[in-house]
């Protein structure tokens, strides 16, 4: 088929730029209309909701805002949210690294099934994610009678919240690392092993430096979800103020009490967390792009 190559006008001189642009680009009015439509949609559904969180939070003044976020119940909600994330993120980090090592560096049967199973929590409704733990650890659950006998509370207590958070955040780090480590292949690790490095040395000195940005990316996303999860945690929490309330649940309680200013004040903390997450994500993305172009 490759007989004659037509002169493609991509590097053509200014003389025929106009005709060329007319045929491969939209006219200016169409461009402006499309940009306008897209930005209107995003404004209505994204930007205004984001701005309104901060507006509603500060509407009644700084004093009300400070009072809402330093309220003892709010502080204990912050502590519980941080605790749940501090347990869930490191555990899922270890899981993500182990899963990515097995999947990306070795060939074995059933690999695709394993990847699908790791993704499973993404497709399960948050409410169902909470419910399944109630079925196991709740009073009516499999382990319920045994736990009650030994006076261990899981459901309507902190362990249940941690478990539900773990469940919904399982895939985040693994799914960032797997494609990245697959793309990097096994040659560098094999060289390290042949030169006498042991497994841990190989991982920390060869693999980890190659995937550090992807790892950080996964940790950031995992953390955002861990701190923001609502549905799953709501089912297992029991909504006990000052003891089993995470930040999102505290927002709900304040809102349902018609304490809107306080609800939005606490919500603004979570919105800030989301903005920080997006900023970090953007930075990490540009770092990986640089790293990727250097590697290629």
């Amino acid at each position: 088929m490759s007989t004659t190559v037509l002169p493609i006008p991509s590097s053509a001189g200014p003389s025929n730029t106009n005709t060329y642009e007319r045929s491969t680009q939209e006219p200016a009015w169409a461009r402006r209309t499309l940009i306008g439509l897209a930005l209107t949609f995003l404004t209505l559904f994204l930007f205004i909701p984001l701005i309104s969180v901060f507006y509603e939070a500060l509407k009644k003044g700084m004093d009300v805002y400070i009072a809402a976020i330093t309220d003892p119940d709010a502080v204990s909600a912050i502590q519980l949210t941080l605790t749940a994330a501090a347990i869930a993120v490191p555990l899922n980090l270890i899981f993500g690294v182990a899963a990515a090592w097995a999947i990306a560096k070795f060939e074995f049967r059933g690999k695709n099934l394993l990847i699908t199973l790791i993704d499973l929590p993404f497709s399960v409704s948050p409410v169902v994610s909470g419910l399944i733990y109630v079925l196991i650890f709740g009073l009516q659950g499999w382990l319920g009678p045994w736990l009650a006998e030994h006076d261990i509370k899981v459901i309507f207590a902190v362990p249940g919240i941690v478990l539900a958070t773990l469940f919904v955040t399982v895939p985040f780090i693994a799914r960032e690392l797997i494609p990245l480590m697959q793309a990097q292949g096994t040659e560098e690790e094999e060289a390290a092993v042949v030169l006498g490095a042991n497994g841990w040395q190989t991982f920390f000195h060869v693999t980890l430096p190659n995937v550090k940005w992807g790892l950080l990316y996964g940790v950031i996303l995992c953390n955002a979800r861990a701190m923001g999860e609502f549905g799953a945690v709501s089912v297992v929490s029991g909504h006990i103020r000052g003891s089993t309330n995470t930040l999102p649940l505290h927002v709900e309680i304040l809102y349902n009490e018609y304490n809107f200013a306080a609800a939005f004040a606490v919500a603004s903390l979570l919105a800030l967390l989301a903005l920080v997450t997006l900023a970090l994500k953007t930075i990490v993305e540009s770092k990986t792009r640089k790293q990727g172009s250097r590697g290629a």
Partner: protein, 277 residues
Amino acid sequence: MSNFKQHSVLPGFNLALGFTLLYLSLIVLIPLSAAFIRTASLSWVEFWNMVTTPRVLASYRLTFGASFAAALVNAVFGLLVAWVLVRYRFPGKKLVDALVDLPFALPTAVAGIALTALYAGNGWIGQFFEPFGIKIAFTPLGIFVALTFIGLPFVVRTVQPVLEDIEAELEEAAATLGATRFQTFSRVIFPTLFPALLTGFALAFARAIGEYGSVIFIAGNMPMVSEITPLLIITKLEQYDYAGATALAVVMLIISFVMLLIINLLQWWTRRRSALT
């Protein structure tokens, strides 16, 4: 063992895979199986009756209808946003690109109360609809708004990379052969994007079906009218109707698994299509 795994000089396979399987079983697989095992104690007729009462059927209609409408709107506007972000330059583009992921990062409860405040009759946006007798918050329309917000990044983020990879030569060839710009788009660009667009639609739809946090604030939660299926599960749980809640959870899980299968097939199709071009 040699059948199961190819030989490699790298160490740590048994430890890594063993830990992965143990962790996944303890945190995900055994808990999920609990729902199915619990439901297995019901007879088929009992199960069927539980998941087809009029109130439950109304919640399916609402959940699927609103999710479908929201995913459809996201497909249209997601394609538009992806197009504008890839093809055009305008001030603030980088910021807009970063903020598209907001629904992924913003906790659903925050999205829920913000959208409710905006789309209520006296809210910034709701006040423009109120004079026409259109109520958005506390009606099924509000559920649609919340689900549109939640699903927004999916289509943009699946279409964007495919659009970036389309080679200029394709469009140039079409133009050289005499196609108008619209023909080039509908006959050349759109067919290339279609698998990704469909994948994004399916992802947004799947996410919307299970969504809870952002919906319950804006929905009004009236049985038969504005009560979504996940909320019905919570309601049954609060009434200590564990069997009913679990039966509904199993229905939702089966739907999730089917959606996961469809999405995997679509992604496979997308990869194959982009490998061909």
